[in-house]
């Protein structure tokens, strides 16, 4: 059937316009009008010859993707994404690939800016009181306290590990200061089944899911207990059991990968989605376009979260893009999107809960732009005072601090006291210092881990190389570091 099919398509191609493809099909398939419908190149639903119905249903099962139909029967439509009411006067409408459009004699350019920026969803005022008229999902005491405690833990962890790098104890670190609300509120709104594809400023998700301070320290020190077996730079965490994909340095590669993971996740039919993060800088990468476009076309259940923190190392967003931020890009891909105040833990929580629900229920992607500010330097390799004013950093670190705002709300509900605060901070600090000491003293990964995991099974050439290396070390022990267990 397939061969006949392709032949008939060839014939149709060679036909002069005097016989339209639909007429031709009518001639060869008399029971043309009786069958299941499919969407044509022009985006309209067309009647489909019975002979082709088997073929087309398999195509239909994945709906309208890059469909190049065998017939186009213009003028006949049942259902389009754009309502029929728009086209009252048949004369005002044109058919083109992609659907019907009204035409206009007026030449009008769409402005590159709109007079009003997309507003930002916010719930908590700076004073910790919910803004009047705000709609949000209520958070119970247990969740709220856990959220606040996690935000504090993340903040202290960042400060202490940063110091450790400055002291030369670890080679590198990257903080999430200023973005604690995005990290923790998002994590709280998801479930453990949701698969996370992070950029690198989202360790709060791991923290929420139960990754211990010791496990964080182990990865940063690259010791034997590190789940990554010392293969990666610090902060490149990854954990299968926490459904958190190992962090990969190239920017935005996780975005098309997320669409692929979602493609696979769909088959599991779980009550779960894929959550992929990127920063404002990552939206400039080609992978951002490919990832969002594909997710929309493939109808992949991915929640894209963009942490727009204003800076990509030294590049401010005014030099990153000229659009109204990232939220407006969603519609360009046919993706529902929202802008939220990333420093408002309650707003982020509500937004992610709603977005996740949409993604899972409708099995299509959603884009969330969380506005925030990168309080810390890009990483320990950066000194941001070189390219931005110190008072700007200080302002965001203090007056616009997400922890302070959320703490006021938790405190007002009677769920948190100043004593709890100092006790928590003291305890976390102690735990961290202990974790670092333990991690520092723990052995480094042994020699066998140098060659493992390159492939699923150790190939013979690497086996030989390992043997040869062990021989060499035995003979020239003094030339090799003493802290490598053999």
């Amino acid at each position: 059937m397939a061969i006949w099919f392709s032949r008939s398509r060839k014939i149709a191609h060679f036909l002069k316009p005097k016989i339209s493809p639909s007429e031709f099909l009518y001639k060869i398939c008399p029971n043309y009008s009786n069958s299941s419908s499919f969407r044509t190149l022009s985006g309209e639903n067309c009647r489909n010859p019975q002979a082709f119905s088997d073929y087309s249903t398999t195509i239909l099962s994945f709906r309208r993707r890059w469909w190049r139909p065998e017939s186009t029967r213009a003028g006949e439509q049942v259902e389009t994404p754009y309502s029929d009411d728009d086209y009252e006067d048949e004369n005002q409408v044109l058919d083109f690939p992609g659907g019907r459009v009204t035409f206009t004699p007026e030449m009008k350019f769409i402005s590159e800016t709109s007079d009003k920026r997309i507003p930002c969803y916010r719930v908590l005022g700076d004073d910790g009181y919910p803004i009047s008229g705000s709609k949000f999902e209520q958070v119970d005491k247990e969740t709220a306290v856990k959220m606040y405690e996690s935000m504090v833990t993340l903040q202290i962890m960042d400060n202490i590990f940063y110091e450790a790098q400055r002291q030369g104890r670890i080679s590198f670190y990257l903080t999430s200061l200023g973005e604690e609300a995005i990290n923790i509120a998002t994590a709280a709104a998801l479930t453990l089944d949701d698969v996370i594809l992070p950029q690198y400023r989202e360790p709060g998700i791991l923290l929420w899911r139960g990754f211990t301070l010791q496990e964080f320290a182990n990865q940063c020190f690259g010791n034997n207990a590190d789940y990554g077996k010392g293969r990666q730079m610090p902060i490149h965490y990854g954990s299968n059991k926490h459904n958190f994909f190992t962090i990969s340095s190239p920017i935005a590669t996780q975005l098309p990968q997320a669409a692929g993971v979602a493609y696979s996740l769909k088959m599991d039919k779980k009550e779960a989605c894929v959550v992929a993060f990127t920063g404002d800088g990552g939206t400039s990468e080609g992978d951002f376009h490919a990832g969002l476009n594909f997710a929309a076309v493939l109808e992949a259940p991915v929640l894209f979260i963009c942490r727009n923190n204003g800076w990509a190392i030294s590049t401010p967003i005014s030099e990153q893009f000229r659009s109204d931020g990232v939220v407006v890009k969603g519609q360009a891909y046919g993706i529902r999107s929202i802008r939220v105040d990333g420093n408002d833990a309650l707003a982020v929580y509500s937004t992610i809960r709603a977005a996740r629900e949409m993604v899972i229920r409708e099995q299509k992607p959603v884009l969330v732009e969380a506005l925030s500010y990168r309080v810390g330097h890009h990483s320990t390799s950066d000194d941001s005072t070189k390219y931005r004013p110190i008072n700007e950093i200080e302002y965001w670190r203090t007056a616009r601090n997400p922890l302070v705002r959320f703490q006021k709300w938790v405190h007002k509900n009677g769920w948190w006291t100043d004593d709890d605060e100092s006790e928590l901070r003291g305890s976390i600090r102690k735990q961290l210092l202990t974790a670092i000491q333990v991690a520092e003293k723990t052995e480094k990964p042994p020699l066998a881990e140098f060659f493992s995991d390159v492939y699923s099974h150790l190939p013979s050439n690497l086996h030989e190389q390992e043997k040869s290396l062990r021989e060499t070390i035995k003979r020239h022990r003094q030339d090799y570091p003493t802290d490598v267990p053999l």
Binding site: Y55, S61, W66, R68, A262, Y263, N293, V297, D453
Partner: protein
């Protein structure tokens, strides 16, 4: 059986009598009882079909693989048989669909990603190397990537510089990748099946000009469970005077050269590498230890090429056995020109291989490369 080969060979205008001796060796290796023939295209198509049928996690993705039946018709009939969920036509973004494929592999599917030509894989090379090849190692075994990247590689005919590069050396240098280069239909079937079943990322380098070429095929090869081991080269023709290594299209040239050399009393051993990474160093070295002379043949650029690696390996393992310097035949060190006469000069020809073998056997007046 030999009648089939004789027929095929005569069509190419090569006197059958002289080739028969060599071909007999090939015949006895290539097939047992059946005299069936199969083109490389059919071999790849049937391999894909059988693997997709056997494992529902295998799916094909790329430009024109579905509706169009494949840019080179390799995936003909697959969309109709398996539906658009398993044969996915993509928009034009190599970076996009390679990234998606890798993501799907991260989460347990077994994608086969087709590049219209490996030249276009450069637009996705970050995903191939940083997202696929290194992931198992960097995640300490938590993320395995059972993906296959396939498509035509190397020069075609009259397609110019941006469509003619050979990527064997580039991908062959990456730990974490496996790189295969089939020549015959048996190679195509066996190696593609092995690649799809393999838990590691595999780069599968086909050749556009070989797609239409027909090879005899045994009943064993036609069985759906058939596969070839990754990392094993094949001795296409046994000999005792000089070893000629080649892969992909150059294997055919090497065999022709061996036929010509036989007339002049030089018995050449032709090795079809089949696997660029891992390279079958033991087969190559065993052969060199027998013949004491080596000619490496490849279509790609000479610097840092496959021949350079083979040469280094032989020097390391079999230095005392060499009676002559290693001869390296490669493509010209220029971007591939379009004009037919220039193109011909940019790619190795059979005569280049014959002259190199003779030089290596001291059969020319001097050892100069122009001899």
């Amino acid at each position: 059986m030999l009648g089939v080969i004789r027929q095929r060979v005569t069509c190419r205008g090569i006197p059958t009598s002289t080739l028969e001796q060599g071909m007999r060796v090939v015949a006895s290796r290539a097939f047992s009882s059946s005299a069936k023939e199969m083109t490389v295209r059919e071999a790849l198509n049937s391999a894909l079909d059988e693997e997709m049928s056997a494992d529902p996690r295998v799916f094909l993705m790329g430009e024109e693989v579905g509706e169009y039946q494949g840019a080179y018709k390799i995936s003909k009939g697959l969309l109709e048989k398996y539906g658009p969920d398993r044969v996915v036509d993509t928009p034009i973004t190599e970076a996009g669909f390679t990234g998606i494929g890798v993501g799907a592999a991260y989460y347990g599917l077994k994608p086969v990603i087709e590049f219209m030509t490996f030249n276009f894989s450069m637009q996705a090379i970050d995903h191939i190397i940083n997202s696929a090849a290194k992931s198992n190692y960097m995640s300490a075994g938590q993320i395995s990537v059972p993906i296959v990247f396939r498509g035509p590689n190397g020069a075609a005919a009259g397609v110019g510089a941006q469509h003619s590069q050979c990527y064997a050396a580039w991908y062959g240098s990456i730990p974490g990748l496996k790189v295969l280069a089939p020549y015959s239909s048996e190679d195509a079937r066996g190696l593609l099946k092995a690649a799809i079943r393999d838990p590691d990322p595999v780069v599968f380098l086909e050749n556009e000009l070989l797609y239409g070429e027909s090879f005899p095929i045994s009943a064993e090869t036609l069985d759906s469970s058939f596969s070839l081991p990754i990392g094993k080269a094949k001795i296409e023709r046994e000999g005792k005077d000089v070893t000629i290594t080649a892969f992909s299209k150059m294997v055919g040239y090497a065999l022709q050269a061996a036929g010509i050399l036989a007339k002049e009393g030089i018995s050449a051993e032709v090795i079809n590498l089949r696997s660029i990474r891992p390279l079958d160093r033991s087969t190559i070295n065993a052969s060199v230890r027998k013949t004491n002379r080596l000619v490496t043949v490849e279509e790609g650029f000479p610097q840092h090429g496959v021949g350079a690696e083979i040469c280094a390996s032989v020097l390391e393992d079999s230095f005392e056995y060499l009676d002559a310097p290693v001869e390296r035949i490669a493509g010209a060190d220029v971007p591939m020109p379009y004009a037919a006469n220039l193109e011909r000069m940019a790619v190795p020809q059979v005569e280049d291989i014959v002259r190199a073998a003779k030089r290596s056997c001291y059969r020319s007046s001097s050892l100069a490369a122009t001899a």
